[in-house]
């Protein structure tokens, strides 16, 4: 054991202690950023799942359609002030600070009947009677999604709260109800957030040559 080794060992331990202390000092901020970062990843995943499964009924940006809006700028019940979910919880006598589990339960187990059938018939169309007005989505109730996926969609919906400024004007409910219940065929299908290819230029291009030379085989091997 020479002094070089002792010094090296000493410096190594001092260095380790210093680094760990430095990590420790930054921990509270890092944890806050990181848990927020992971929480919003749930929102992102939920957004993509919503786009895939829910947008056709509830609207591309949660603004509603055949089914009630979920962007919390309008009430889910009555025509009064949003944010809708908290208001609804209050009306039911539940804790309005806990919207997550309520929304999760609706998504997971679905709704047998619409709460405003004249405005939002939901899944229950004239020619598919017997179907639930909102299907159950969680595997636990026979739906196609895993519980963690349903929780992600719930995170997305609950996160709309953050987008609503405190002084937002609540959007009023539509006052005129449709006279007939819409059919599946007539239901407006709102497609996803990406449109089909944009319109080509108005000035016509030169037409392509009639004979197409066969291009290289598309099954070329890819470079590693």
């Amino acid at each position: 054991m020479n002094r070089f080794e002792i010094t090296l060992g000493l410096l190594a331990i001092v260095g380790t202690v210093a680094i760990i202390a430095a990590i420790g000092v930054g921990e509270p901020q890092r944890m806050a950023l990181e848990s927020r970062g992971w929480a919003v990843r749930h929102v992102e995943t939920g957004a993509q799942l919503y786009d895939q499964y829910c947008a056709s009924c509830h609207g591309v940006n949660g603004s509603g359609g055949m089914c009630p809006p979920v962007d919390q700028t309008s009430g889910l019940h009555g025509g009064d002030i949003g944010p809708g979910v908290a208001w609804r919880l209050e009306e039911l006598g539940w804790d309005r600070q806990q919207p997550f589990e309520y929304v999760y339960s609706v998504l997971a187990s679905g709704r047998a009947v619409s709460t405003r059938p004249e405005l939002y018939p939901g899944n229950r169309m004239a020619d598919t009677s017997g179907v639930m007005s909102m299907p159950a989505w969680s595997e636990e109730y026979g739906g196609p999604l895993r519980p963690d996926q349903v929780r992600d969609i719930t995170s997305y919906i609950v996160a709309f709260r953050e987008a609503v400024p405190d002084d937002a004007t609540p959007r009023p409910w539509p006052t005129d109800a449709p006279t007939e219940r819409p059919t599946l065929a007539a239901a407006a299908v709102v497609t996803s957030t990406v449109a089909s290819p944009p319109e080509p230029p108005t000035a016509p291009l030169a037409p392509p040559t009639a004979t197409l030379a066969p291009p290289e085989s598309p099954t070329a091997t890819l470079a590693p």
């Binding site: 090296l8 380790t16 760990i20 890092r30 990181e34 990843r41 992102e44 030379a213 099954t219």
Partner: protein, 596 residues
């Protein structure tokens, strides 16, 4: 009072103590008591002796209390009392065996700590990982240390085996030790594999699914082994629990058992080998005597080991604090296999083998043969010499095996030998399934939407006529991506990313831009409905030759105007006549952190 009764004995002892106190004074009495306590804890070494050790002085008592300590202490008795000098040369062993135990201890410590916050069920596992990484002080630190220690342990164990092979230290009395060593290599690999599943993300789930599928293809008992490991035909709750039990209980116990057997042989029976040049080579008698001289474990070698541990810890902690972070992908999804699933680096050789042929042959039979040969090395090698110059065949075989493993590992990387359609491949670089990717790591503010979150379209690759079209004149809603002038840099990271996308698409020979210019080859749209969430979509529109599904040959028809044969495009078969399109889109939140 009767001195032979219990109470009598106690009283007599007490009186004896008090007598000593009276005669020698309380100071000496206390010093004696402390000395006794120190000796009791430190296996007979007094405080004075400890000081002498730290000063590198000779022992303070006879007989040498340092040797006695190795008899009295359980922990120390496992170690040899002395080593021959040459066996401690750094360049002989590189201390790899020692580091293997070091990493094992790091893993046990960090692993047990992580167990506090982890429950092995599909409902909890992923969220527990998120909690550890974001909600527990030093949680990320512990997880990254655990991952780094695991990779270090696999690397060190493999290197240790390679070293033992090349120094010929598996011959003679060391044959059984070699066998236990190969068992430990297997245990280490399975420990790493079983732990890999626990984060329960897509990477974990599919890497282990593929690995156990290989086991299923084994002849005879493959199906049963697969079912036992997974607890069900597919990995889900049962599989996770079984892998967890393997990882935290069964395999560590096996490891401790075999490490004990392995090290007992090393420390007690045949010791660390001397370098072959000392044993067999030409050395000056003086030099040889020096090389074979004994060095005591206590104190110098033990302190040397403490120094190694200190330095290794510093390196690990520095790595974890800066660049080394264990990844976490999306939640495990048994319905969707992500593109470009990659095995961990120490299994790339296996993935390379699998690309060569039948999974049962390449995944089971060949590795079994490899390990059988490894086990049998001490008996296959009939050459009694250890000196490299006298065992050229063994050295050559060792070198060529190492090279073969490296080549197989290269072949195991995702880019090698995999055909993916061009559009899908390019899009997966920007919106990957397996890691955040460059788009998510671009600063949020640089990814601009139109006014008030309306859709902004970036035309990345387009017919020139489009740039002049009036309907796309508004720069707030439409941008035509052009490379910057020579000498100028892209305006920001997002612009650079768009330019990269442009280059990828335009340099891909198998992607034909739509022939009638009815759609841009590549474009990106950005829009947001709420201030915190942006929707970013990458689109590629292309024309593709219609090929017969069975033969792969282009389908031809006769052009009615010219009578010449023409190749049909896929779009000719569709009512709307639109070109092929592939879209990959993602939702990006303002507060998302994609540092890892």
């Amino acid at each position: 009072m009767d001195p032979s009764s219990r109470l009598g004995h106690f009283r007599a002892a007490l009186e004896h103590q008090l007598e000593g106190l009276r005669r020698f004074g309380w100071r000496a009495f206390a010093a004696d008591a402390v000395d006794g306590a120190v000796r009791g804890v430190m296996a007979g070494l007094s405080a004075r002796e400890l000081r002498a050790i730290l000063r590198d002085d000779p022992p303070t008592e006879r007989p040498n209390p340092r040797y006695k300590a190795q008899v009295k202490s359980f922990l120390l008795h496992i170690r040899p009392k002395y080593y021959q000098r040459a066996s401690t040369w750094l360049t002989h062993t590189w201390r790899l065996g020692w580091f293997a135990v070091f990493f094992f201890l790091v893993e046990v410590f960090t692993g047990v700590v992580l167990m506090i916050f982890y429950a092995p069920t599909p409902q909890t596992a992923y969220n527990d990982m998120l909690h550890i990484m974001g909600g527990v002080p030093f949680g990320l630190f512990m997880r990254d240390m655990h991952r780094l220690g695991a990779e270090g342990m696999v690397a060190v164990v493999v290197l240790h085996m390679v070293r033992v092979y090349f120094t010929g230290s598996y011959k003679g009395p060391r044959r059984f030790t070699w066998v236990t060593g190969v068992i430990l290599l297997l245990v280490t690999l399975v420990l790493s594999f079983s732990g890999y599943l626990l984060p329960w993300d897509q990477l974990a789930y599919w890497a282990v699914t593929i690995g156990t599928s290989m086991a299923a293809s084994a002849p005879l008992f493959g199906e049963q082994v697969n079912l036992l490991l997974r607890g069900a035909p597919d990995i889900w709750a049962d599989g996770l629990l079984r892998f967890y039990l393997l990882h935290v209980l069964f395999l560590p116990l096996l490891a401790i058992l075999f490490i004990s057997v392995h090290y007992y042989k090393v420390a007690r029976e045949h010791s660390i080998s001397l370098p072959a040049v000392v044993e067999e080579g030409d050395m000056e008698p003086q030099a040889r005597r020096h090389a074979e001289e004994r060095i005591d474990l206590l104190p110098n070698l033990l302190l040397h080991e403490l120094m190694l541990a200190s330095v290794a810890l510093l390196v690990m902690v520095a790595a974890v604090a800066t660049f080394f972070h264990a990844p976490l992908e999306a939640h495990a999804d048994p319905q969707v296999t992500p593109l470009h699933t990659k095995a961990p680096w120490y299994f790339l050789w296996l993935q390379g083998l699998l690309k060569l042929g039948d999974p049962a042959l390449m995944g089971i039979v060949v590795p079994t043969i490899i390990f059988a040969v490894l086990f049998a090395v001490p008996w296959l090698d009939r050459n009694p010499h250890r000196l490299a110059s006298r065992r050229k065949v063994a050295i050559a075989m060792g070198l060529s095996s190492t090279v073969a493993v490296l080549i197989l590992s290269y072949m195991g990387t995702p880019g090698f030998g995999i055909e993916t359609p061009a559009a899908q491949n390019i899009l997966s670089h920007y919106v990957p399934d397996t890691h955040p990717g460059p788009v998510r790591e671009t600063p949020w503010d640089q990814i601009a939407t139109g006014p008030d979150g309306s859709r902004k379209t970036y035309f990345v690759s387009y017919p020139q006529a489009w740039a002049a079209d009036a309907q796309y004149a508004d720069p707030a809603l439409y941008e035509f991506v052009v490379p910057p002038a020579p000498g100028e840099a892209p305006r920001d990271a997002f612009h650079e990313l768009l330019l990269q996308f442009q280059a990828d698409v335009e340099n891909e020979p198998t992607l034909m831009a739509p022939l009638d210019g009815s759609a841009p080859l590549a474009m990106v749209t950005v829009e947001s409905f709420t201030p915190q969430l942006k929707w970013i979509a990458f689109t590629i529109n292309w024309d593709e030759v219609l090929t017969d599904v069975a033969t792969g040959q282009p389908v031809t028809a006769v052009d009615p105007a010219t009578g010449q044969p023409v190749v049909l495009l896929k779009r000719d078969q569709r009512d709307d006549g639109r070109p092929e399109q592939q879209v990959k889109k993602l939702a990006l939140h303002r507060d998302a952190n994609y540092r890892h």
